[in-house]
Symmetry: C2
Subunit: 661 residues, 2 copies
């Protein structure tokens, strides 16, 4: 897919990576910028300019092909505005929160766990410096380290007592596990201040990360901007199942915006308040998590960081095939393994460096409230390891809670090949006693009894044998039940249909994080000149595939330029004409910074001999050929049918114009 | 682009269009549904299911190719969450409102103009019935009629006095021009009640249509969900201009969600609270609105409904070429004309019936607050003529107001070929007098004088000749100015750069409205059976291009199915396997309803002879051929390289399986 070139010809690591240089390039070339910049901007909101948007659109297009088209997934496009009931049921209204603290003097708000973590880490670093040790990267587990770059945490070389060091280290290892009260306690006992101002901070307060609004003119319908696209899949489950002829497994997929009102976002595109996600919900029989296409993924070798390794305080990556990982139960099942493999292929094909990609399993204490198991695809960047794709087993959580709340059955019904005989405890009610005994509550009491599951029926039966007992309703009211009201007994049933709530495997992609990490991975500077940056984006995602440059602004070139660009566009190749007055070297450099893989020069030889020169971005090699031949080669190169080495076999080298500014 | 078939073979108008039938089909096949349906839903919010999402994604992909790639537009992806300052400046906080009234008993909220309009129209209809006239469609102008279908407006045959009829008709003609007070007056004097309940309604109250939220944990940053994507372009103008080497014309483009908190949305996808738009902002020199590619659009014939025709109370459409319309100044300039032509091509290529498409010019009183001229592409549906694309000349409005508010210059600077000599009134200040005279306000007074434009300088000069005068600052304070403080005179300047604020031509597409209108245009029922609906979607937008159906669930077919679908997918053809247990006729009917243009049947002949049968959706023709040949023909058909008639020349007819249920 990517343009492969003889590596001997290009030295990409001549200069160490420098984030400021990259950020300067991205700003100058308008990959992205702070939203409402001319109004001063707002933290955590970014606009993508032309190259950023095109890069994102190309990543999405490839994602759609790689996942949706390739696997016949059922695409959805559900609303961002979500009524509060849905998110109340899913748990987001109650649990999708972070703890925040306020600077007592300035009123600035900080995320409590980030504050504690940052300050303790800075103190540990200062301690190490004081002890004459070089501060080491990544203490404890990377799980905690990866998330939050801290700009203002200066370490001062002060030695700490040994027991304090031990306390800090154990605190950091469990920081995701702390309650608000515990964080408040730590802030007081460890005298943690706002490092930006040196002021004290108040008690931690819970803050819900969802943006709230109200729907309609009366303000009576409360709504939230969705924090994930997933709930839109779950509430449509029955229609999806019907669309798939009532059968599992199947997957739905959705690409769209989600929102999280982060407390104090920093770190550019890595922590934002509005972002584009791509989510897959794969619905599967809980008793059969095999995958029909597992064979296609089983030989892919990836780096794993299982929870066991992390819990023993280590971070080394285990390299093995997906097949081995599933066989050894490191990865629970084929479906999960299959998706890890597909995620790996997706990320590496768009240009992520496989050596800087790992799959890390969540530890018990960091899992989301709905998850049964979770693996993150983490990409290494200058901010550390960044979670870019989550692959969670949400079990039957969401479908169960929505079903319970709405009274709609969200289940799969499967005809059994042979009827089976099952025994089940059941309650039969003496209906005529209910009215006189419970009056207007008769229906509620009856419903409560009928809703009891088997274990509770058995329990109730045991109690009734001893005498009258209390039954507690969902609304908290209690009623006295006596044995004459009902008969509880084991009965035999013949079943021809199996009914079950499917489990959900959810690969969830943060596209902005992937996009930023990719930019770090493909960025380098020319050996000859550190100021000449290059983005070696693969053609499949490069914003513009081919640059067309006339050697001068002479009008004689215009018809040639039009014809070339028309032919390329017809073949679906996004191209751009740069007929600005800058020197040709400068125009090429500018397009190296935009990641444009190929450049086509139109000069007087084009007019006289019908030739074009073709330049490859990474090598700056220039070749010459007949117009038609060059155009058709560019189309083949962009579509990945040939690589640059093969193109060089067809076109002789050109040395007429020097690629310098 | 579309599959052309011999029209003799298919009779698509055997049954009159029935909206309920279409809606039933769309619901059954999960094109779209009410959002959070299992929670009861919320008016104006819809989720797209698999075929609806795929249709929308294909429309967007074609839009991106047709506009962005084809014209090298600069794509943007800006945030939905917008700080209030931006929308205050643009005028949306103050002017993006509708008038609403409340039912005095139920508290139900209605849009005041829709209420008045609906009731008056129903009364006029009743009047006509009473007078024995058949009620006619589309009174006054279509501009007013098209917008709002009314479900609950029952007309009762009651004759009205002639002067009341005249009053109602003139009221309806100007309804968009009424203030809240005037609407309230009408409601009282004409005894207009809530037709749903028969209750009185209260006074009209202004309601802003933007969803409000707040950004960050302190709640101090007010934000709105954007009501259009346009402002995201304007606030990024300087960066876009720089990206385009400082030159105009150029266009930016954006596809994304916008939100309008409609008062009481009805009419399905045509009036919703959350929707996907595609917007182009074409920045152009106000003195030169020619377009470099106008030649490509000038011969396109479209139907125009200019404002002059409407203002004289008529609605007939004038058919002419874009070139003629521009030459005759019906359409103001080449750029506007070019876009009308491109919009026409876009809509007809995705399947909109050109006979049901017109371009209507806005009349003065219905233009948005920012627009200087506006043409709507209106599509005819069962709801009347629906505005689906607006093509407005926003003049320099937005850039000017943002520039004024932020103090950032949002202008194009153009080197003049020859310097020009200009005379201008200027003020020169006696700086040393300002400090003693105005103390701490000296700077403010000086700035205020320097900010005066030429006419105001001349005015001030005239006043100073007579004696001391007052200068009013923006903050309302006044200062006395005397002639010794400054010299105002005409001076001569040599200018080498022309500086101007570009004008903006904005084609703005409501994708949901286009999608729904398209579904109406391509829907028909088989002559033989009204229950067999078909959506004749062109391949370019059809959700699935090819259906693969094994004749039975025999496992012998599995490898063939896999191989066919892999080959199609590799060629970028979205396909779907239907191996459900339904009869083959039923499976084909189901896919006719999904708009799938081609069906490939795998049967025992496939296994034995390597043949496939190929079915075309509209004709239900079946052809037979070798596997490789059929697959390659399907790819050519889908990509529009050949049409069905040409495919039929290559493949013999197949008659082995009847296409019935």
């Amino acid at each position: 897919m990517a343009t492969s070139v003889p590596t001997t010809s290009v030295k990409k690591d001549a200069h160490p990576f420098n984030r400021e240089t990259l950020e300067g390039l991205l700003a100058k070339r308008f990959f992205y910028t702070r939203a409402f910049e001319i109004y001063g901007g707002v933290a955590g909101l970014y606009d993508y300019g032309p190259p950023g948007s095109a890069l994102q659109a190309n990543i999405i297009e490839f994602w759609r092909k790689h996942f949706i088209i390739e696997e016949e997934m059922l695409e959805l496009d559900t609303t961002i505005m979500t009524v509060s009931d849905v998110l109340k049921t899913s748990g987001h209204v109650d649990k999708f929160t972070d703890w925040m603290v306020k600077d007592v003097k300035t009123g600035d708000v900080l995320r409590a766990d980030h504050l504690v973590e940052g300050v303790l880490e800075a103190r540990l670093k200062g301690d190490k410096e004081a002890r004459g040790l070089k501060a080491q990267v990544a203490p404890v587990t990377d799980a905690d380290k990866k998330k939050k770059p801290k700009k203002n945490m200066k370490s001062v070389a002060v030695q700490l007592p040994d027991d304090v060091v031990a306390l800090y280290e154990s605190t950091l290892a469990q920081i995701d596990n702390y309650t608000g009260a515990q964080l408040g306690e730590l802030i007081r006992t460890q005298s943690i201040l706002n490092p930006d101002t040196g002021n004290e901070v108040g008690e931690p307060v819970e803050f819900n990360l969802m943006f709230e609004s109200s729907i309609g003119p009366t303000g009576q319908i409360k709504g939230y901007l969705r924090p994930e696209t997933a709930q839109g899949h779950f509430v449509n489950f029955s229609r999806l199942l019907e669309f798939n002829y009532g059968r599992v497994p199947f997957a739905s997929a959705q690409i769209g915006r989600s929102f999280r009102n982060e407390i104090s976002p920093r770190a550019g595109l890595l922590r934002v308040r509005e972002f584009t996600m791509a989510e897959i919900e794969h619905f599967v029989d809980p008793l059969d998590k095999r995958h029909a296409r597992f064979d296609e993924a089983k030989d892919i070798v990836v780096g794993f960081l299982p929870k066991g390794v992390q819990e023993s305080g280590r971070t080394e990556i285990i390299k093995m095939t997906i097949g081995e990982a599933v066989a050894q139960k490191i990865v629970d099942n084929e479906t999960l393994g299959y998706f890890l493999g597909r995620i790996y292929l997706f990320l590496t094909r768009i240009g992520i460096n496989p050596a800087r990609l790992r799959f890390r399993q969540h530890m018990k204490n960091e899992m989301a409230h709905y998850a049964a198991d979770c693996w993150d695809a983490e990409i290494h960047t200058s901010y550390g390891w960044i979670e870019c794709v989550g692959c969670a087993d949400r079990s039957a959580y969401d479908l169960s809670v929505h079903s319970k709340k709405t009274g709609q059955k969200l289940v799969v019904r499967q005809a059994l090949p042979d009827p089976i005989i099952v025994e089940r405890w059941t309650a039969e009610i003496e209906k005529k006693l209910f009215g006189p005994r419970f009056k207007k509550d008769a229906k509620a009491v009856e419903d409560a009894i009928m809703a009891l599951d088997e274990p509770r029926l058995v329990l109730l039966n045991g109690e009734l044998v001893k005498g009258p007992t209390k039954l507690k309703l969902d609304d908290g009211r209690e009623f006295e039940i006596t044995s004459d009201l009902l008969t509880i007994q084991k009965k035999t049933f013949k079943e021809t249909v199996r009914e079950f709530t499917p489990n959900v495997i959810e690969p969830s992609f943060g596209l902005g994080r992937i996009l930023y990490s990719l930019l770090e991975h493909v960025f380098w500077c020319r050996e000859s000149d550190e100021a000449r940056g290059v983005l070696s984006l693969p053609s499949v995602v490069a914003p513009i595939k081919a640059l067309i440059v006339p050697i001068s602004s002479n009008e004689v070139f215009t018809p040639f330029i039009r014809q070339i660009s028309a032919q390329l566009r017809k073949a679906g190749v996004a191209c751009r004409v740069d007929d600005s007055s800058a020197s040709i070297g400068k125009r090429y450099s500018r397009n190296d910074e935009l990641g444009t893989p190929f450049g086509i020069t139109v000069d007087f030889a084009t007019v006289q001999n019908g030739t074009l020169t073709l330049r490859e971005r990474d090598t700056t090699d220039q070749r010459i050929g007949k117009t038609e031949e060059v155009i058709s080669l560019v189309i083949d190169l962009v579509d990945g049918r040939i690589d640059w080495a093969q193109a060089c076999e067809k076109l002789p080298a050109y040395t007429g114009v020097q690629d310098v500014e």
